[in-house]
């Protein structure tokens, strides 16, 4: 994950250069409009190939709802796209139940290998949309 966030509205990307000279592997320094930012470390892509667009907010919300129910999350605890299942207290049995709940809700079938890569609510939502799309175009 990038350690600094860039507010798109305040910077115009007229010149964007990536420079890897003299830096550690997997890191680049980002310079935008001549301003340089601290080097961003590129996360090595794990076995999964991440689709670039994020899932629709409705999908994320639905996943949050299912997760809340399965893990009996207190109302004062926020569950968002960033929320990690492990941090919400999900054990392996919970994760499996969540996946099964998502399959039922969205009418999809999740392979074991893909299920293992889900770490956050966002991951689950992205995977769902991917599978729903594949199903639709099949």
């Amino acid at each position: 994950m990038a350690s600094s966030t860039i507010a798109a509205s305040s910077i115009s990307f007229t010149s964007l250069t990536l420079n890897n000279k003299g830096l550690a592997k997997n890191s680049v320094s980002l310079s935008i409009n001549g301003k340089s930012f601290p080097s961003l470390r590129l996360q090595a892509a794990s076995r999964r190939f991440r689709v670039s667009c994020a899932a629709k907010p409705e999908t994320v919300d639905k996943v949050c709802e299912i997760v809340r129910k399965q893990l009996a999350i207190q109302p004062d605890v926020a569950v968002t796209g960033d929320s990690k299942f492990a941090a919400l207290g999900a054990d392996s049995l919970d994760t499996v139940e969540i996946v099964m709940g998502l399959e039922e809700e969205f009418g999809i079938s999740v392979e074991e290998e893909s299920a293992q890569t889900i770490a956050t609510v966002q991951d689950a939502a992205d995977l769902i949309e991917n599978l729903v799309e594949k199903k639709g175009s099949a």
Binding site: L88, L93, E97
Partner: protein, 302 residues
């Protein structure tokens, strides 16, 4: 109970953790903490002092006070317990951990000066209401605990068909009483989890479908199938469905009812498995509970 007396008690013991003897080759030790028994904020802060920055961060990343407390107790339990097994005085804070090639946590002995590396293996499991740590020497160990009353939201049979082996599915579907079926499902799940954790390859490294765990009657003549799956005189064994050269015959299981509230599955290569169980509050007290109502053998024990 006023905090004063508790403070005095743990301040005197906090400077020296009572040492404990390593389990012998044939023994397995199990330590557990009941979070509800740990109420003192000061005690919890003492536990926090045992953790390095990265572990503290992980504790605080848990969403909710109870989850944070559970995560803290798990780290405090493993650190204090391993420190107590050392022959030289060691502080729980000085322990370093790393993950093996498959991601299983283990002690990193090299990081500590003057230490004699031990053949010490451990594994942790916790629920909201119990934190447990199993310890063996010479052989890896895996443990898993689950609340006895845990409700499964999906149908047991759809769960089983998806994750369990054919023999296990058959066993579960032959149970007509839904409550007994739920209990047997949970027991089987903990046994399978314990095995996977003992192997140290993670859930995806040893998919549940690739092995069968079952009870066999232990007899002097040989092993034969027993009618009841939870007889005290039974052995619990695992068979690999993939690779017959998998040496699954080396692994042994114990299944317990712990503290009246949990099923605990322990998997190691110790045979026979001689278990010693303690209820503990780190820095405060230990209570040896083997042979009491807190530890009821369900299968696989001497």
């Amino acid at each position: 109970m006023r905090m004063q007396c508790l403070d005095t008690k743990f301040f005197t013991s906090s400077t020296s953790l009572a040492p404990i003897q390593l389990p012998s080759r044939m023994e397995t030790h199990l330590w557990y903490v009941i979070p509800n028994e740990v109420k003192s904020e000061q005690l919890l802060n003492k536990y926090l002092e045992f953790l390095p920055k990265s572990e503290k961060e992980r504790v605080f990343s848990m969403r909710g006070d109870e989850l944070q407390k559970g995560a803290l107790l798990a780290r405090a339990l493993v650190r204090t317990t391993i420190a107590r097994y050392q022959t030289n005085q060691v502080s729980p804070r000085s322990l370093k951990f790393r993950k093996n090639i498959h991601g299983k946590p283990e002690v990193d002995w090299q990081q500590i000066e003057d230490w004699h590396p031990q053949q010490l293996h451990f594994n942790i499991s916790h629920t909201e209401s119990l934190v447990a740590c199993g310890v063996t020497t010479h052989n890896p160990i895996g443990i898993d605990i689950e609340e006895k009353e845990r409700k499964i939201k999906h149908s047991i049979s759809s769960f089983a068909k998806r994750y369990f082996s054919q023999q296990e599915v058959q066993l579960l579907s032959s149970i007509s009483d839904p409550e007994i079926q739920r209990q047997e499902f949970i027991k089987l799940w903990t046994l399978k989890e314990a095995y996977v954790k003992a192997l140290g390859r993670g859930f995806s490294g040893s998919p549940f479908k690739t092995f069968t765990i079952r009870s066999v009657a232990a007899s002097k003549e040989g092993i034969h199938l027993s009618e009841s799956s939870s007889s005290e005189n039974s052995d619990i064994v695992v068979e690999s469905l993939e690779d017959s050269a998998n040496h699954t015959g080396d692994w042994r299981f114990a299944l317990l009812e712990l503290a009246g509230s949990h099923y605990a599955a322990i998997c190691s290569k110790n045979h026979p498995m001689k278990m010693s169980v303690w209820r503990t509050i780190p820095l405060v007290e230990d209570e040896y509970v083997s042979g009491t109502d807190s530890v009821i053998a369900v299968g696989g024990l001497m």
